[in-house]
């Protein structure tokens, strides 16, 4: 069934289609429409779930972890400051191996107050043991949510997953979304059946103290291993999803007109769409430019980038965040992935769109022009685009 849904509404319907059993969430602009929509769906009797309207994001994540350990499929959503308040419990969730699915609306961090798109909030969570996906359309939000439950709850993965969508550009933009039938989703997902749950008939303690000489180190290795296993599951689930629902998003990296591209731009989130438009324009003029949309940031698509680097002469990386004292995180990580290959392309970084600064066609063209002109990145490895100087 086709519906007009915003990115927020798509997330709410995603939680319903996945039959999330416990939802704990706290409102924050621009995520609020998710919790409102869920409340509406419950109020009209369309969605049966335990909705815990917690008093903070920290509690939202803590309640989700606890609920998941009891064996409930859980969902939460937040943004920006809220995600940062959750940070401590994000580690708790992954180390407890609770396959929580969370939607984060990418929004800038204060001060100054800004409710607009920026990836700093999720990039700052890259080391928490969560899988991280960035979406480009409302349809992708809905579809990815369903995929994430399947990947996260796989018995060899059992890790939480974070879905990111840009503030307003996606969260508040209504698009046509094909809503899959509940039966098909049920068949695809199945129910959540973790091996160990809190159970009064089989008492166990979750999260016991571990001494340095004992197993802490091994438990961390198991998370690392699960993240590696997740790589193949992400691709498997995408294939299965495509077979059932007819849509797919390229797995880790969504390639657009990359086959013969000499310059490949890398970006995540909604600005990828604008890059596609720019590429279409330039392709008409015969310029060989492509887009590699970074869809999965954790686990990081190392091999996929090495494949791109084999063919492209130049890679331009757009970061909607900045790691102060260094450079954009995507830029750093892509370069690191290419370190071991023999012939590296030129890789240049671009800092764009912080605090919701619109990434327009003009911005993209400026980046492409710069990329075309760049022959050496030693003196200026990255650039801030559109800065008032």
């Amino acid at each position: 069934m086709k519906k007009v849904l915003s990115g927020n509404a798509a997330a709410a319907y995603g939680s319903k289609l996945a039959r999330a059993e416990v939802i704990s969430a706290y409102p924050i602009t621009p995520q609020t429409k998710i919790v409102e929509k869920i409340a509406d769906l419950i109020a009209v009797g369309e969605f049966e779930t335990e909705f815990v309207k917690v008093e903070s994001e920290h509690s939202a994540m803590a309640a989700a972890v606890s609920a998941s350990l009891v064996g409930a499929r859980t969902f939460t959503a937040t943004s920006s400051q809220g995600l940062l308040l959750m940070h401590e419990i994000l580690h708790w969730a992954s180390a407890s191996r609770t396959p929580i699915v969370m939607v984060n609306i990418n929004r800038a961090l204060a001060p100054p107050w800004s409710v607009w798109a920026d990836h700093t909030d999720t990039v700052a969570q890259r080391d928490t043991g969560w899988m991280q996906f960035y979406c480009e359309s409302c349809q992708e939000v809905l579809d990815t949510m369903l995929q994430l439950y399947k990947i996260a709850e796989d018995k060899d993965v059992m890790l939480p997953a974070m879905l990111s969508e840009d503030a307003f550009l996606l969260s508040h933009t209504s698009e046509i979304v094909d809503m899959p039938d509940q039966d098909m989703v049920d068949d695809f997902l199945g129910s959540f059946e973790p091996e160990n749950i809190m159970d009064v008939d089989n008492p166990m303690s979750f999260g016991s103290l571990s001494m340095p000489h004992q197993y802490f180190y091994e438990f961390r290795y198991k998370i690392a291993e699960a993240m590696e296993i997740a790589r193949s599951k992400i691709l498997e689930v995408e294939k299965d999803f495509e077979k059932r629902f007819g849509r797919s998003y390229g797995g880790f990296i969504d390639l657009y007109r990359c086959d013969d591209a000499e310059i490949v731009l890398v970006a995540a989130g909604s600005m990828s769409s604008t890059i596609r438009v720019a590429i279409d324009e330039l392709r008409e003029k015969g310029e060989k430019i492509g887009l590699a949309r970074l869809r999965v940031f954790r686990p990081f698509p190392i091999e996929e980038f090495r494949e791109i680097a084999k063919k492209a002469k130049k890679i331009g990386v757009l970061d909607r965040s900045f790691c102060f004292g260094y450079e954009g995180a995507f830029f750093t990580e892509i370069k690191s992935a290419l370190f071991d290959i023999d012939e590296r392309p030129i890789v240049k970084g671009y800092v764009v769109g912080l605090g919701g600064r619109d990434v327009t066609l003009d911005v993209i063209h400026e980046i492409i022009d710069d990329c075309q002109a760049t022959t050496d990145t030693r003196t200026e490895p990255f650039k801030w685009i559109g800065l008032s100087r």
Binding site: E21, V22, S24, T49, E50, V52, K53, V54, E55, S56, H58, S59, A60, A62, A63, A64, V65, S66, A67, S68, L69, V70, G71, A72, T74, E88, I89, W92, M198, D199, V200, N202, P203, M204, S205, F206, G207, S208, L209, S210, M211, Q214, Y215
Partner: protein, 302 residues
């Protein structure tokens, strides 16, 4: 043998509590009352260590270790999940935290959990400082006490403010049941825990749980000193059931002991001056009068 408590030992031997630990006794009593169909969430506190290292535990009930400030949220999540799974009926969900995890860092999540009306029981075992981290002051530390962050030497840098009255804060949340209990009176504690179990809705219990290590007294005195805390009216034993106040251990004026008798038993009060002892006495007297007034005005109908 005269047995006044349920016999089932749900807290096992071999735990890691210090000698004479009030917190260990409190848990033993609570589980005797609640039985084995109980789920517990424990944040950072002595009890994050007491059950023992992985893969062992002294608690024969399901247990989740949770983040320091997260107890209220964790029990909300457990309760919601049990409801979602159709398993809530007959299961008691308990948050078990120290005074720091309750009065300080965890007060927000606790306040949120009880305001939302979850069917959860929150129990604070109060040893009046951050004992697991090595005796730093909390908002539950009483006035005049030495701790490692209120050191007392020639500077007389003991804690200058009175203990936060969390019990009244919880009662003010208009929850079905709020009470105090002491390890000195296990029968009373167990009776109250059973009452909490039967009430559908959020309940709060505050247990006086002395710490020989942190309070600087010999471990065998734990019970003696707990009794003294109540007999001096420093720690009154009372309950608030649907807004109705009731004193469970009334201390008649002629039996009421001076606070000095209590203060003398513990090294943490060793250097207190006369003036501070007086001010503590005044504070305890005032609070006791206030409490008796509440019982008089908002007590159970005779």
């Amino acid at each position: 043998m005269k047995i006044t408590l349920p016999e089932d030992e749900i807290m096992e031997k071999g735990h890691m509590a210090c000698l004479g630990c009030g917190g260990a006794l409190a848990m033993r009593y609570l589980l005797k009352a609640l039985g084995r169909k109980t789920m517990v969430a424990i944040p950072a506190c002595c009890w994050a260590v007491i059950p023992g290292v992985f893969p062992y535990s002294c608690l024969e009930v399901p247990l989740q270790y949770v983040a320091f400030e997260a107890t209220g949220a964790a029990i909300s999540g457990i309760e919601a999940a049990l409801k979602a799974k159709g398993k809530k009926e007959g299961t008691t969900v308990v948050g078990w935290a120290g005074d720091g995890g309750t009065l300080d860092i965890g007060i927000q999540a606790l306040s949120g959990a009880v305001e939302r009306g979850h069917d959860v029981k929150y129990v604070c075992y109060d040893n009046e400082a951050y004992m697991n981290t090595g005796i730093q002051r909390s908002s539950a530390t009483p006035k005049g006490a030495w701790t490692t962050t209120t050191p007392v030497g020639n500077t007389r840098f003991w804690k200058k403010t009175n203990k936060k009255n969390i019990v009244e804060i919880m009662a003010a949340h208009d929850i079905p049941y709020t009470c105090t209990a002491s390890v000195a009176y296990p029968e009373d504690l167990i009776k109250k825990a059973k009452k909490m179990k039967d009430i559908k809705g959020p309940c709060y219990m505050h247990i006086y749980a002395p710490c020989p290590t942190g309070w600087k007294y010999p471990p065998e005195k734990t019970i003696e000193l707990s009794r003294l805390a109540t007999e001096t009216c420093i720690f009154p034993i009372y309950e608030v059931t649907y807004g109705k106040y009731k004193l469970n251990k009334n201390i008649r004026d002629e039996k009421k002991k001076p606070v000095l008798e209590y203060l003398k038993t513990q090294g943490r009060f060793r250097k207190l001056d006369e003036e501070t002892v007086q001010s503590i006495q005044h504070y305890v007297d005032d609070e006791w009068i206030k409490l008796k007034k509440k019982v008089e005005c908002f007590g159970e109908e005779k």
